[in-house]
Symmetry: C2
């Protein structure tokens, strides 16, 4: 390479499984002057982020911080710190991300018991209960909003079982936080993590994490340090709390983006934000069904923020997604894991959850499907969706 | 908290151990439209980053990528993937970051042999040799530029010993890359990592990592997966190479910043950039000595990019650093580890390495020291420094 490359990314309509679009003020925040990671002014910004994360997680948990990495770093921080050799964990797998938790858990040396459900349904509480009865269990982990299937996991029945059996509950909130109700304290969740690039609508690069006093005690009671040094919660907490002990150089600009994005969530109001995601998501889903397409996730557990729609027989998955991107600038996700090649994943998260995006996507998809020989009823789709959006 | 916080970080002159200042075009890059992490246009940006990282590391290593976290994530990726139970590692500790490598190494279950030197000197090759003779060793790790002491480690003598004894050499280049010569291939280094927020002058949040074919073979020959899933190099490489297998949602905006920062390094030219850091750093050091202060690091191993200067007897460390920050907006670092309370750490890295910063800092520090009763010869300091800057 002799030429030095320039940077000119095109503008996209981000309707995949994340990243979602970001508000211009979030992007602008990253251009603010860099502070040192131990500057008193930066400490103040961290404290404000912490307070806002608690509000959005609906928790009073003292231990609430953002790990210096993407959502998967939050997952790893939770799993690698809560589990150690000799522990038993029950992990619910009904999609790609439950499986990822199980992979991480198995690297801790803990005994991992798996509970499964079809990709498109949530984990059944009775299956968790059976495993909790089988042997003493330290941790149960489930995914609240499974980004691979578009399914919302009911949390309270599982939380109740955890309390009965003395197990901690870990909840993956990567795709739910800021988009659908998350009630860490009211539901009795002991540990949760999220990502910035979904319904919080900041760029990827930080992961809000919160631990209940019981979960924190479990971390502190470890006999050996966690597998990870970078994501050792004892070390991370010592930097986030009043000790301010140096551990890593905080991703300063990303923390600004997180701060601004959290503030935007609170400015909109959590309930209003959930309602917006609900309305736009249901309009999209009604439109897709009116077009003649089949939604994959169980109707009663369907998320509004991430919709899986089955690819009609004979339609070329890659050609449609490529054309959406190249002709309309719309990104949607392909299927992953068990659903590879079988569904498209359409996100309506954070800034990307707008009526305009719903109608633009339905129109673009409907026209492309017609080109592929599918009798897509575009008129009905737009009519139904618009009616829902007005409601 | 009822009020939603706003964000208004003050402008600082960043002359601590990092983060350094960033070029306005690097900050502006983070405001560019977000792309999906599997968008073909983003893949192109990743490929360009990879090629530029190879040029700056001076390597042809195929496996060259940026881990999704700060410099410590690169350290963890290298250590946790290269070591497993049953391996033996020889780690050089002559400062805080060598100690951190040893802490990580001990979490992998490997046998860790420590070689030390006083904080202010580099590791002696004969000490490494003694340990290499003691038992078969898989990995030797040393810190190229020890940010806690301001010492540069001579690499080639240690590399030669590693080759003789069949050990891999891991080099921490967090504070050296882009500021002082780093020659991964010419020196025979097998694995190296850096940070973005030092001499590359991007915000913290990504870590360039490169592995030689021999190091990569060692990673692939592991019997068990690495401790870390988030920083598993097999999974990271499968996303960075042509497989493009999803592993994490890349920190998109941070990758833009990295891209622009790497391009700036190449636009300036590596040799010219090294020369700039050398000239400004030596001017600062000559000025500090002319002022009557004592530099801590061995003269022959002193880095130009990070200077440790001893705090004169009777001077209040916190008061001086606080006044520098509050009155002049200058951030410098305090001592850490063995040097806590004994030195200041003054960085001149990347965009922060300017003649203006040298003179501004000398002036501000000299005046503050006089207020503290130290007979600082400010006139001599500025005269000597300015002469060096002109040279």
């Amino acid at each position: 390479m002799t030429e030095i490359p320039t940077l000119d990314p095109p503008r996209r309509v981000l309707m995949g499984p994340g990243p979602s679009g970001a508000d211009p003020s979030v992007l602008a925040a990253m251009g603010l002057p860099i502070l040192g990671h131990l500057d008193p002014e930066f400490m103040r910004i961290m404290d404000e982020c912490q307070r806002m994360m608690r509000q959005i997680f609906r928790t009073g948990n003292e231990v609430t911080l953002a790990t210096p990495g993407t959502g998967t770093s939050g997952m790893e921080a939770a799993v690698m710190n809560l589990l150690q050799p000799g522990d038993r964990a029950v992990i619910g797998i009904c999609g790609y991300f439950g499986d990822r938790i199980a992979q991480m858990a198995s690297r801790t040396g803990a005994e991992v018991a798996i509970v499964t459900a079809p990709w498109g349904s949530p984990i059944a509480p009775e299956d968790v209960e059976r495993e909790l009865r089988a042997a003493p269990t330290k941790l149960v982990a489930v995914v609240h909003a499974e980004t691979s299937t578009g399914v919302r996991q009911p949390v309270e029945p599982i939380s109740k079982l955890c309390k009965e059996h003395g197990a901690l509950l870990l909840l993956d909130c990567v795709t739910s936080l800021g988009g659908v109700p998350v009630e860490i304290d009211a539901w009795g969740v002991d540990a949760a993590y999220s990502g910035t690039q979904k319904c919080l609508s900041a760029p990827p690069g930080a992961s809000p994490v919160t631990l209940s006093p019981a979960a924190w005690s479990a971390v502190q009671a470890r006999e050996a340090p966690s597998n990870s040094w970078y994501l050792d919660l004892n070390l991370l907490e010592a930097y986030w709390d009043s000790r301010r002990a140096y551990h890593h150089t905080s991703p300063i600009s990303m923390t600004y983006a997180l701060h601004r994005a959290l503030a935007l969530v609170l400015e909109e109001g959590l309930e209003a934000r959930w309602e917006r995601h609900e309305r736009n998501g249901r309009a999209l889903q009604a439109g897709l069904e009116a077009m003649g397409l089949v939604l994959h996730a169980d109707a009663e557990h369907r998320l509004p923020v991430l919709t899986t729609v089955r690819i009609p027989e004979g339609v070329d998955d890659g050609a449609v997604r490529g054309a959406l991107l190249q002709q309309s600038g719309i990104e949607v996700g392909g299927g992953i894991g068990d659903l590879r090649g079988r569904v498209w994943r359409v996100g309506l998260m954070g800034e990307s959850s707008t009526p305009g995006n719903v109608l633009y996507f339905l129109t673009s998809l409907g026209r492309l499907l017609r080109e592929q020989g599918v009798a897509a009823d575009l008129g009905a789709a737009l009519d139904v969706a618009a009616t829902r959006l007005d409601a």
